[in-house]
C-alpha cells in the first residue's frame, strides 16, 4: 500500500509552492495541500525556499542562473536530514517551477564543473549539493507514488458528467528531458480526471503555448492565444479547462475579457487547477477550493452538473 510510510503514519513529502501560489494563486496552494492530506500524504513546505528562477536561461554561459534553483535543492537536503521518513525528493505543483528546477537539476547532474562552481558560490551553505535530489511534479507523484487506482478510492464525490479539457501548455512536457509522459500527446492529466469520475475531452490546442509572460505588456497577443485555445476546448463542448501553471491560468482565465473584446463570439469558460478538481472530488470545502479567486465563476457549470 504505497499511501502509508509505515503503520498508520502518513507519508511526508517536501513541498515547494513557488511565488505565485503564495500570491494570486492561493487556490492552487490550498487545493494542493488539502487534497494531499486526503491522500494521507503530509506535505511539508520547504524552509527558506527561494525563487526557482521562473524561466530557464537558454544561453551557453548560464551558471549564475542555476544558483537560485540549486539553492532549493540544498534546502531539500536540510529538511530531509531533520525529518524522519522523508526521501531526498520534493514536489511542486506549479509547471513553471517544475520546469526550471528540473532543468537546472539535470544540468548540474550532467556538468560537474557547473556544480562545482555553484557550490563554490554558495560557500556559506553548510550542505554541499551533489546532484542527488529528485524534482517531482505533483501529477507525476500522483501517478507513480500514489497511483490513480488508489486515488480513485478516495473520491467521495465523483465528478460525473463533467467534461474537462486538460491543458498542458509548454512547461510540463518540453523539452523532452523533463517530460514525464509522451511529450507530443500526454494523457496523464486525462487519466487523473478519469479517476475523479469526470470525462476528459480531447481538444486541438492542449499543447499550444498560451503566450506566457508576453501578457505583461501585450495583452492583445494573449487575447488571441486565449481565444484560440479556449475556443478549441469550447468546440469540443468542454465545461471547463484545467491547468497546472499559474501563468497559463492567468492568461486563459483573466484574459478572457480581452478575448471577448477581440472576438464577440468568444464563449467564457471557467479555468481551474487540476488540484481544485481533486479537492472537489475528495469532498473538500470552499476553504480548500477558493473558487472566489477564479475570474470566470465555475459555479454555474458545476451546478448544471449537480456538483455545486
Amino acid at each position: 500500500m504505497p499511501l502509508m510510510g509505515n503503520e498508520n503514519k502518513p507519508m511526508k513529502l517536501a513541498y515547494y509552492p513557488g511565488c505565485t501560489l503564495k500570491n494570486q494563486a492561493t487556490n492552487f496552494d490550498v487545493s494542493t495541500v488539502s487534497s494531499m492530506a486526503k491522500l494521507d500524504v503530509e506535505v511539508e513546505e520547504l524552509d527558506r525556499w527561494n525563487c526557482c528562477g521562473t524561466v530557464h536561461a537558454l544561453d551557453s554561459d548560464n551558471v549564475m542562473n542555476r544558483v537560485a534553483p540549486i539553492t532549493n535543492m540544498i534546502r531539500v537536503k536540510e529538511m530531509q536530514a531533520k525529518t524522519e521518513g522523508m526521501a531526498g525528493e520534493f514536489m511542486t505543483s506549479c509547471a513553471m517551477c517544475y520546469n526550471t528546477l528540473k532543468r537546472a537539476n539535470i544540468d548540474v547532474q550532467q556538468r560537474a564543473d557547473a556544480l562545482e562552481t555553484i557550490n563554490e558560490l554558495l560557500y556559506l551553505e553548510k550542505t554541499k549539493y551533489q546532484g542527488d535530489v529528485e524534482v517531482l511534479h505533483l501529477l507525476e507523484y500522483l501517478r507513480d507514488r500514489v497511483g490513480f487506482d488508489n486515488l480513485a478510492k478516495k473520491v467521495t464525490r465523483p465528478l460525473k458528467g463533467l467534461r474537462v479539457a486538460c491543458y498542458y501548455g509548454c512547461l510540463l512536457m518540453r523539452p523532452k528531458e523533463v517530460a514525464f509522459d509522451d511529450a507530443e500527446n500526454p494523457t496523464i492529466m486525462e487519466n487523473l480526471i478519469r479517476a475523479l469520475g469526470a470525462t476528459p475531452v480531447e481538444f486541438s490546442h492542449k499543447m499550444e503555448c498560451c503566450g506566457a509572460y508576453q501578457t505583461v505588456d501585450k495583452p492583445d497577443v494573449i487575447a488571441d492565444r486565449t481565444d484560440r485555445i479556449m475556443g478549441s476546448a469550447s468546440e469540443e463542448r468542454a465545461d471547463l479547462v484545467v491547468v497546472s501553471c499559474p501563468l497559463c491560468a492567468f492568461n486563459l482565465d483573466y484574459r478572457q475579457d480581452d478575448a471577448k473584446r477581440l472576438n464577440p463570439d468568444f464563449n467564457n469558460m471557467p479555468v481551474l487547477y487540476f488540484t481544485q478538481l481533486m479537492a472537489l472530488a475528495f469532498g473538500c470545502d470552499e476553504a480548500a477550493l477558493r473558487f472566489d479567486l477564479q475570474h470566470i465563476d465555475p459555479l454555474p457549470v458545476l451546478k448544471a452538473r449537480g456538483l455545486d
Partner: protein, 139 residues
C-alpha cells in the same frame, strides 16, 4: 531595383554569426530552411520575421536588420520549434542569443517598460508573469 543578394563565405563566416553560435551553442549553418519551426510557432502570427528567416538572417550575418525586428522579442521559449527541428537546432536558444546581443550593446536597451504600465495593469499581474518577463526582456 537590384534585388540580387550575393551570398559569399564572408557573409556566412561573419563575426556576428560566430557570436550568435557561441552564445547559443548552436550550429546555425546546419539549417536547411525546411520551415518546421515557423509552421509550429504559436507566436508566428505576431512576428514580423518568422523563425526560419531569423535563422537565415543570422547565417548571413545581417546583424542590424535582425536585431531591429520585433520578432526576436516575441518568442516565449515554448520549445515547440526545438522539439521539431529535423537538424536538431535549438531555435529558441538562437533567439535568446539574439536578445543577448541586442541587450548587451553597451547601452540599456530593455524591451519592457514596466513602469509605463498603468498601476491597475501592474496590480493584477501575478509575480510569475512580471519576473519571467523581466528575466527574458531586460538586461
Amino acid at each position: 531595383m537590384d534585388t540580387t543578394l550575393r551570398i559569399t563565405s564572408a557573409h556566412a563566416g561573419s563575426s556576428f554569426t560566430a557570436r550568435i553560435e557561441k552564445i547559443s551553442g548552436q550550429k546555425l549553418l546546419a539549417c536547411y530552411q525546411c520551415g518546421k519551426c515557423s509552421a509550429g510557432c504559436p507566436m508566428a502570427a505576431h512576428m514580423d520575421v518568422l523563425p526560419n528567416r531569423m535563422i537565415r538572417m543570422a547565417q548571413l550575418g545581417m546583424q542590424q536588420q535582425l536585431l531591429e525586428t520585433k520578432a526576436i522579442w516575441m518568442c516565449v521559449s515554448c520549445l515547440t520549434c526545438n522539439s521539431r527541428c529535423p537538424k536538431g537546432i535549438k531555435i529558441a536558444e538562437v533567439i535568446e542569443a539574439l536578445r543577448k546581443a541586442a541587450l548587451g550593446g553597451g547601452e540599456r536597451n530593455d524591451n519592457l517598460k514596466i513602469m509605463e504600465l498603468t498601476p491597475e495593469a501592474r496590480s493584477v499581474l501575478p509575480p510569475i508573469a512580471t519576473i519571467s518577463a523581466m528575466r527574458k526582456l531586460t538586461s
